[in-house]
Symmetry: C2
Subunit: 310 residues, 2 copies
């Protein structure tokens, strides 16, 4: 796969992230089909709607209600929640041909491994989406801030396909870049997700701005960030010391943004507790790094998210 | 003060704890006056009601609506919430004569110091109440479990008055004992209060049994207990290593008990966050002991309790 031009692309799990990145590729002319359930009728009737930076894009996208209708494709974008990964065992096989590439847009750790174990490590790519998105209705996405995507390979080899995917996103108007070490990038992203997604729930439903403006919570966010960087460093994923301050500083522009996990929790949807907190905790423990705050946060979140919110 | 026989006793803050211990002294014939506000009419009309161990005690108790009606007494039992300590600056002076003893039944750290700074260290005593009580209505207390009281002096001198207070509680049917080092006992009590009161709120409103039955939460309770014992040890308040396991084991008998802080939080009342978590955290930091879980828990509780529950 040297270019996505003419390639068939399917999106599985077209929530905010899947619909945004898949939709932007479709808008740029790539051949994208969204696999949809609840949003199927709305998108078929009036296309996808993306509100972004003061303008609204509304455009038709190919849709399918089952993966068999789509058949084998060149690339699958996976935007499903990690908590629903088991569903992929039914959804992916019809889409997978000999050379199909699976690109997971999912947060946290363990999703690449899940895919690799079942469909082969060779075909697995991962992306990290640095973006503030909310799904505000069926097939209707609000893009609030940021938007870049970082793409890498599960196996650390250099690949022309990485560049092909990056090129396609860039052509779709998205700041995209390739990365040599995907797992290292995943740990870098956790530096933000662990504290902000976690504290936003554990502190009772607070926004990014709330955390930054509360001296105790901001201090805990920093402390959690240091635990994550220490764990990453011990695994050989070096994170520069001023990265924590960089992440705190860049978060101010998000304002009263509700991290995706908080929104899921408040809506009573499953929260990706294992991918974002449980798996990093396990991997930190496996290399002997003590992460007491992460452990307490994980334990609280496991409990808090096991009870349905009203 | 060599005996409480014939001594005048006032109770300030006759919530569950103040009403129970003061009420039991009154029931045993000691001259106790409860300073009451919202419960005044009910207690004046039909006395105090204590449901305990399958039986109900209902008996008249002297009541007053203002401290001036009571005047100087020999002993004040202080059961007010630590968050309302400022109110003591108005409530206590009319009760204090030259030899008046102030016995705080309050939880956590800092309350003895608050009293000592204002009314002199000599007159301050403290008690730790190991008891499960709920106030179920005006002047009506349910005694669920345990019930012992440990009494000590703010200044570490041996005092005949310690024995006098202990004797009175014993005469009232309460398992009471004197303790040489009050601050050491306070730290021993925090070993339980820090995790159970704290996690019960932070995990979204869970009982003692919920915490014990959830492997992650029980593990965090133990880890918090170790942080508290390490801090105590560093201050010279030695706590034996198996005390954590002892505390976990004894908690099973409490069943689905809601710690007092959880009840306060759920009812929208102030929670003693500084006394139970903030002050211990400060004192641990002052002796250079790192207590990351306590810090995270304190920060979460500060936020969670600053927002009124519905």
């Amino acid at each position: 796969m040297n270019s996505l031009t003419g390639a068939k692309i399917a999106v599985v799990g077209a929530g905010a992230v899947g619909a945004y990145y898949g939709g932007m590729l479709a808008h740029a002319g790539y051949e994208v089909t969204l696999l949809l359930r609840s949003d199927f009728d709305a998108v078929r009737a009036r296309g996808l709607i993306i509100h972004s930076r003061g303008q609204t894009l509304q455009f038709p996208v190919k849709t399918a209600a089952t993966p068999c209708e789509i058949g084998p494709v060149d690339l699958v974008l996976i935007g499903i929640k990690a908590t629903a990964n088991q569903a992929l065992e039914q959804l992916l096989p019809p889409l997978i041909g000999q050379h199909t590439v699976l690109l997971t847009l999912q947060n946290g750790l363990g999703n690449d491994d899940f895919l690799a174990e079942r469909w082969g490590a060779e075909r697995i790519m991962g992306a990290l989406c640095f973006v503030c998105l909310n799904r505000i209705g069926p097939g209707e996405i609000r893009h609030l801030d940021h938007g870049s995507i970082t793409v890498g390979e599960f196996l650390k080899s250099d690949c022309p396909r990485t560049l092909a995917v990056v090129d396609a996103f860039v052509a779709a108007g998205i700041a995209a870049s390739g990365v040599e070490n995907l797992q290292a990038e995943r740990w870098r992203k956790l530096v933000w997700n662990v504290p902000f997604n976690g504290l936003s729930i554990a502190a009772g439903g607070v926004t990014v701005a709330d955390i930054l403006n509360d001296p105790l919570l901001q201090s805990e966010a920093r402390a959690l960030m240091y635990e994550v960087t220490q764990a990453a460093d011990s695994m050989g994923y070096f994170i520069e010391p001023d990265y924590v301050t960089y992440q705190i500083n860049r978060s101010w522009s998000m304002g009263p943004y509700r991290p995706s996990s908080l929104i899921d929790w408040q809506l009573g949807f499953p929260v990706e507790v294992e991918a974002i907190w449980g798996e990093p905790l396990k991997r930190a423990a496996a290399v002997g790094v003590n992460t007491p705050r992460l452990q307490l946060l994980y334990s609280l979140l496991s409990r808090l998210t096991s009870v349905r919110q009203c």
